[in-house]
């Protein structure tokens, strides 16, 4: 596998064909994401009950919580896959909840989304999966696109599996390809739904370090939904803990670890 330093270097702005990627994201002035009073219910079940959070540029927020507390729903609301019942979502100052399809698609181009189970297109090869957003949203030539795909796959250690179908690779490998696809358009925001779940400890650490590098060198703002406390400790500037539809606490890992709240203490017991 290519080292992380090499991998991140591939994203450097002086890399020739990166210029072919359309500049869809202007340099943001305010916070990358501001969520205020988010409510979301499914039938009678209220999943989110007034969640507020802010993520600054280049910052990483980890979202923790028990299963079924609406962590993944939160990410889907930000990317506009679901509509909140109430509340506001600002992405680089643009309101997501009232945007039409075209405006929303422009916002989405500035975001990379890694799904919980990778969600690779099973009729396309690994290479075609990563090329998908490039083919749709850039004016790259086939050769430029091919080089870019190889670089992205090398950055997650999948450069030898270009021609394989998603069904022919393991769940962990699928997640790495999903991450490469999420990074394809050089997003300024990354939404990662359990990026290290199902990965071996070495790959998990490499993914964590890759996220850190992106944060440090490219000001990528990230929201990472995870159950992995070690990962949260390593990559997150701040952590938010969801419980019964509310963000019960927000702070750094150390702050949360020292919290006197019973639920928080229970959650961080084994950290």
């Amino acid at each position: 596998m290519m080292s992380l330093h090499q991998a991140v270097a591939l994203r450097a702005p002086d890399n020739g064909h990166h210029r072919a990627i359309e500049d869809t994201h202007a340099e943001p002035a305010g916070p990358a994401m501001v969520l205020q009073g988010l409510h979301k219910s499914f039938g009678a079940q209220a999943v989110l009950r007034g969640v507020n959070l802010t993520v600054g540029n280049g910052k990483t927020l980890a979202v923790l919580g028990r299963s079924g507390t609406g962590k993944s729903v939160l990410l889907k609301l930000i990317v506009g896959l679901q509509k909140p019942d109430a509340g506001s979502i600002l992405v680089h100052g643009q309101e997501v909840t009232t945007s039409n399809v075209e405006a929303m698609n422009e916002i989405r181009k500035t975001m990379g989304f890694l799904f919980q189970h990778a969600a690779l297109y099973d009729s396309l090869t690994v290479e075609e999966n990563v090329a998908f957003p490039l083919r749709r949203h850039t004016k790259m030539t086939a050769s430029e696109r091919g080089d870019r795909v190889k670089e992205l796959l090398a950055s997650v250690g999948m450069e030898r599996d270009l021609k394989k179908m998603p069904s022919d690779i393991s769940g962990g490998m699928q997640k790495r390809v999903g991450l490469a696809r999420a990074l394809a358009l050089e997003p300024s925001i990354l939404l990662l739904d359990e990026p290290t779940a199902g990965l071996d400890p070495i790959t998990s650490r490499e993914i964590d370090e890759l996220i850190l590098k992106l944060q440090e060198e490219h000001d990528v703002a990230s929201i990472v939904v995870t159950h992995d406390l070690h990962s949260a400790k390593l990559i997150a500037d701040r952590i938010i803990l969801l419980h019964e539809g509310n963000a019960v606490i927000e702070g750094t890992f150390d702050e949360l670890e020292r919290s006197g709240d019973k639920f928080v203490a229970e959650f961080f017991k084994d950290s």
């Binding site: 099973d122 696809r181 963000a247």
Partner: protein, 282 residues
């Protein structure tokens, strides 16, 4: 954990609304199937509107359309041709004895051609395609839905209603008339073969007798009504697939309901369209 830990920012909103409790009454259970019926049509209407909105915006997804034309057209051709051929042969064998009984044996070629071109060819093609393509689209899109692939397409800034639904619906609309022509051709040919096996008759004479009393409009309206069948099959299958939920079981339900509903609506549309054709092309 120390007592003098930094107090993190509490974020609980005390004024958060609570979930609305379900009102359970006898009326709820009584009216729920009716509600479900209207809800289905409402969602179908919204789906069609979203597809139409997406269809008129660039890019036009030419590559995917060609792939779907191949999927719907070329790959359905053998089955449709076989079904058409079987119907032609059966029609010839069954009609022959009936017509002999009424002393109208000379009408056999015309009866076969008229029956195939007007009704049997279009309906058989519609039902065969709703089975093969409806199930395929329902299962494929259903699988993509439950594995979040459709969400991934949308999250990457691509409209799935255009990329997945519109291309499949348009492919069905375009290919159904062509497949119907293939079914008609095979039916007429096997009709002649079955006739001539019972009593030798040249192909030229069969064609002359069969097509002698027909006009161009006799072919046009019945054949092009299958474009409406294609619209129905494409819309129902894409809709059922894209609203799939509940894992592999949900995918199975989507595939089954795509076939059942598209076949049902093809038959209902056939009744309406036949009446309309009789009114506009008397």
């Amino acid at each position: 954990m120390s007592d003098n830990a930094t107090i993190p920012r509490p974020l609980i909103n005390s004024d958060a609304p609570q979930g609305t409790p379900l009102i359970q009454s006898p009326f709820t259970s009584l009216w729920s199937p009716i509600n479900g019926f209207f809800e289905w049509f409402g969602e179908l209407g919204i789906f069609v509107w979203q597809v139409m909105r997406a269809a008129v915006r660039r890019p036009f997804e030419g590559r995917e359309l060609i792939r779907q034309l191949d999927e719907v057209g070329s790959k359905s051709l053998p089955l449709v041709a076989l079904a058409g051929a079987a119907i032609g042969a059966v029609l010839a064998l069954e009609s022959r004895y009936s017509l002999i009984r009424f002393g109208a044996k000379s009408m056999l070629p015309a009866a076969i051609v008229f029956s195939i071109v007007h009704e049997t060819g279009p309906v058989v093609t519609g039902l065969v395609v709703s089975g093969r393509v409806g199930a395929g689209i329902g299962a494929e899109l259903g699988s993509m839905k439950v594995t979040e692939q459709i969400d991934a397409i949308e999250a990457s800034g691509v409209n799935p209603y255009k990329l997945l639904a519109f291309t499949r619906i348009l492919a069905c609309i375009l290919m159904l008339p062509l497949l119907t022509l293939a079914a008609d051709f095979c039916g007429v040919v096997t009709g002649w073969v079955a006739t001539t096996l019972a009593e030798p008759l040249s192909l030229r004479l069969f064609m002359h007798a069969g097509f002698g009393g027909t006009s161009f409009s006799d072919f046009l309206a019945p054949t092009f009504r299958t474009a409406v069948f294609g619209l129905i099959i494409g819309v129902i299958a894409c809709f059922q697939g894209m609203r799939s939920q509940g894992g592999t079981e949900g995918v199975g339900r989507s595939a089954t309901s795509s076939v059942v509903l598209s076949s049902l609506f093809v038959i209902l549309a056939d009744v309406v369209l036949v009446k309309m054709i009789l009114v506009f092309f008397p």
